[in-house]
Symmetry: C2
Subunit: 556 residues, 2 copies
């Protein structure tokens, strides 16, 4: 289909053609396909515009609400996508895009994805997936082994037994966490006597039957928002997700956790699950998993670990031990589209006990019949793509050694970046990296001195001003299009727990160099001197001087 | 990376290469990539083996449970995938694969998918998706308009307003149905007085506060199993999904529905939602949606329509009216990876009222902040790929006219196939196609005559024998690899509601010809004469003769 001025026709013949005739090698779409294969970085660099166009403006290109009556040529739609969509998409693979957990992909993932899409398997059942089914079970087994480290005989016994499951594949960490808590909830209220189980009778009758006043899930205040979403979906209510304070390193305070559990128990609230975090989303910290496991055992709670981010750290001999205790978890969430470097849309949860998943098993007449090998009987989702193929390929092509290198370089780069930040007088490191995530902010040396000395009120005023500056810097840097860091809000102890807006950096892209990191700091410092920032910088300066210039004596 | 006998190395340098150097044009993976682009049908035909290998045997190729220590070359893994995975995958695109809802894809979907994967956007937030965000909103708007047919001014007002959402994109129909019922549940128990809403306080307190004994969702017995899964997940319990009888055409009996609602009301059970089906999974029938809408209004229930399969019928001027009443639904599930012909992993739900989704809105500090345009605040999933790009491309390249042709040819082909089945004395049409799905079974003419005359016990015995034959034929035909029909179990009135196993056929692939359909019947008839079937066929024959040969007089 060339760009000639003829109109596309929706005839039955044209429809057959759409299903049988590939794009000609010289068509716009084929050329893009080849461009991407030959030089992905170049393609992205060339086609994604650097300077941000306001999203309110981009919206105009997507304002038509009616499905078009007449077909357009593939070439026409391709050109539209290039100009209007690709141009204003986000260069997530850029080494200076260090603000979120979406990074570059290994090259081989692209043609492999094409095979996956061409095969268009549906993993809900073997009849539409065949060999993909044992392959998915193998991937679940490999991650299970990475976490729980059972011996080969264990996996020979359990990995392919259709009556059990070592885990469940899903579209991402949110569904993985939801699946884990669904299992935990159902497991806590099994069938007994006249009660047919919560899966049959629901939460209301479960609590009445078992004589509880409620059911709670506990996690540190750094828990991912998907857990509160899961608490809502599961009928527990968001207020049943109990937020436990953290220490200065953003790790759960186990004393506070235990106290909270005792308190809930006294209120006749059933403790469904305790969630540990292996790599908090905002700061990359790891909870004291071993102690948490003990507390979970003490209260008969399911112990879940959200390792969506940090799980692959287990590949590293050096840093894997940071996750010690994860092998005591009843379930562990792992995201493949994060540090397994698989394209978007792949997560999974593994279960220590292969029978646990029985708590959510379901069947139907036309598929996932009892006794079948169909994976759909133990997943929250129904129809699902064969993403396991990409995970398996990553695990084999990169192997443990490869992932170890990726993990190690990320963590070491984060440590080095933290040093760089500390070496610069005009920046403040807010959270030190434990894994490959850190937070910091721009903060002039004199302001740092003032903060060290300020009283609570002064400190709040200064931090409020810094917050406005951080927001401005983050937004402006993103709009300028050279680099991207994200931002979040933390309550550091040294700032009297005042909510401070901070830059958040995730160092997972192996192509991010120290030069790039230095440039990012330079640009931020430079932006702080911009015209637009001037008023707020003056406010900050005055607040700073007010503290520094006040006679020492007055401050007692 | 060639196939030479050297070993792959996991050095940091090798890792950089993996992220920066594309596969060489003559590498195994590149060649496959090109093969697929040039001749997808040929590739699948050549590489997927026709004769089925036993799944228990395939498992052996996926028995290793440890993540390999050392990397393998891309070429090695590619060869492995070709020999062990692709070879034993399912040819879902084959025109004789008419057993499930996974069909062939339009050719342009392949290179477009590559662009999507190369861009690796994450739709949870605009910072990782930019223009993809308004594009997704547009797709939701277009499907909303297809269903609800509001005017352009309506969509100008609502489609891009970040405070509202016309729907939610998700990985498939299961999550779409779950999302709809989640919204319905939360909407039924809002904050009021001292009660902070079910999303905060959970189902237990919601029922107590509102003074209900339970909460129910009603759907016909043909409802998809995802609804019962949703009832479990949402804490309602599977027994709260009330199954309503259907008429002889597999449509819900509205009298029975209304009666059931009255009964539940008398028991102080809150009727959360009534679900209509537009295209039942097993038989492709459409519920009387208008009447159901009225009943939902009468009982103050959310009216949800599961149009995962049948939704795109709305593109057809001829058959669209079959779904009359769908525009009265509060929410409608649509699957894009079914009859929108998009690769696996794309579904959505649209809401009549753009404010409804507020019932499940959620926020976090580092993304989906209040007031942001981030789509993640109203989806069940977190990180999600940019599948909306493929849906939008389908809607523009095929357009309404193109989808209409696809829908029409499928329904007409199903009608023609039903005639073919009826013309053959040795087959019995079990359910007549309303959309493009039908069920039938092999049943010799003399047995049909016997069934027409048999008493209940005789009928049961004959049907039990036919069930064994149907299972054998379906399994054997699949194993022979030329064609695939699925099977399910129905309770036809004319067989005294005995559970009959039937072949289930879904005619969505435009390349399926009448010759192929005839061949499928021929092969089934031929398989019935096979050695392996002989014993059961003899049982059937004897049961048949016993009925036919009994003197008429005895049967009074």
């Amino acid at each position: 289909m060339t760009g000639k001025k003829k109109t596309a026709q929706a005839s039955l013949e044209a429809m057959y053609r759409v299903f049988t005739v590939p794009e000609a090698p010289d068509s716009t779409l084929s050329r893009i396909d080849q461009d991407i294969s030959r030089n992905l970085a170049g393609f992205l660099q060339e086609h994604i515009v650097a300077i941000e166009r306001d999203l309110g403006d981009v919206v105009k290109d997507f304002s038509e609400s009616a499905v078009p009556e007449k077909p357009v040529f593939v070439s026409e739609q391709t050109q539209f996508l290039l100009d209007k969509l690709v141009a204003h998409s986000v260069h997530t693979a850029s080494p200076s895009f260090i603000g979120h957990m979406t990074s570059a992909l290994p090259y081989f993932m692209l043609p492999l994805s094409k095979i996956m899409i061409a095969l268009n398997q549906n993993l809900v059942k073997t009849e539409t997936s065949k060999a993909f089914t044992p392959m998915e079970r193998q991937v679940l087994g490999m991650i299970h082994r990475l976490v729980y480290n059972e011996d080969s005989a264990y996996y020979r016994k359990w990995m392919h037994d259709p009556r059990y499951a070592l885990g469940a594949m899903c579209s991402g960490g949110t569904i993985a966490n939801l699946t884990a808590l669904w299992v935990a909830r159902n497991h806590a209220f099994p069938a007994e006597g006249s009660f047919r189980g919560i899966h049959q009778e629901g939460l209301f009758r479960a609590l009445r039957y078992y004589g509880h006043e409620g059911a709670a899930v506990l996690v540190s205040k750094r828990g991912h928002y998907s857990l509160s979403k899961a608490a809502d979906v599961l009928g527990l209510g968001r207020s049943s997700l109990i937020s436990v304070p953290t220490d200065d390193d953003n790790r759960i305070q186990t004393d506070a956790l235990r106290e909270k559990c005792l308190e809930l128990q006294a209120q006749k609230v059933r403790i469904l699950a305790i969630c540990g975090i292996a790599g908090t989303t905002e700061t990359g910290n790891v909870d004291p998993l071993e102690e948490m496991a003990d507390i979970a055992t003490e209260f008969g709670a399911h112990f879940h670990v959200d390792a969506a981010w940090g799980g692959p750290t287990l590949f590293s001999r050096t840093y894997g031990p940071l996750l010690k205790g994860i092998e005591k978890a009843d379930s562990v969430t792992f995201d493949a589209h994060k540090q397994l470097y698989v394209p978007m849309g792949a997560g999974l949860v593994v279960f220590r006990d292969p029978a646990l998943v029985g708590a959510i098993e379901h069947h139907a007449q036309y598929i996932i019949r009892k006794g079948s090998r169909d994976l759909g009987s133990t997943t929250l989702e129904g129809s699902r793509p064969g993403m396991a193929m990409l995970i398996q390929s990553g695990l084999k092509i990169l192997a443990r050694e490869g992932y170890e290198l990726l993990i190690d370089q990320g963590i070491e780069k984060a440590k080095r970046f933290a040093e760089m930040i500390e070496e610069r007088p005009d920046f403040e490191l807010v959270t030190r990296p434990e894994l490959n995530i850190l937070t910091y902010r721009y903060c002039p040396a004199e302001t740092q001195a003032a903060l060290a000395r300020a009283d609570t009120l002064q400190s709040e005023r200064i931090n409020a001003s810094l917050n406005r500056i951080t927001k401005f810097l983050q937004k402006t840097q993103r709009e300028h299009g050279k680099a991207f860091v994200s931002r979040t809000r933390l309550e550091p102890a040294r700032h009297h727990r005042y909510p401070c807006v901070v830059f958040r950096v995730v160092l997972a892209n192996p192509l991010t160099t120290q030069e790039i990191l230095r440039d990012i700091l330079d640009e931020q410092a430079e932006l702080a001197g911009h015209e637009e920032a001037r008023d707020e910088m003056e406010v900050l300066h005055n607040l700073t001087r007010a503290v520094l210039d006040a006679p020492r004596a007055n401050r007692a």
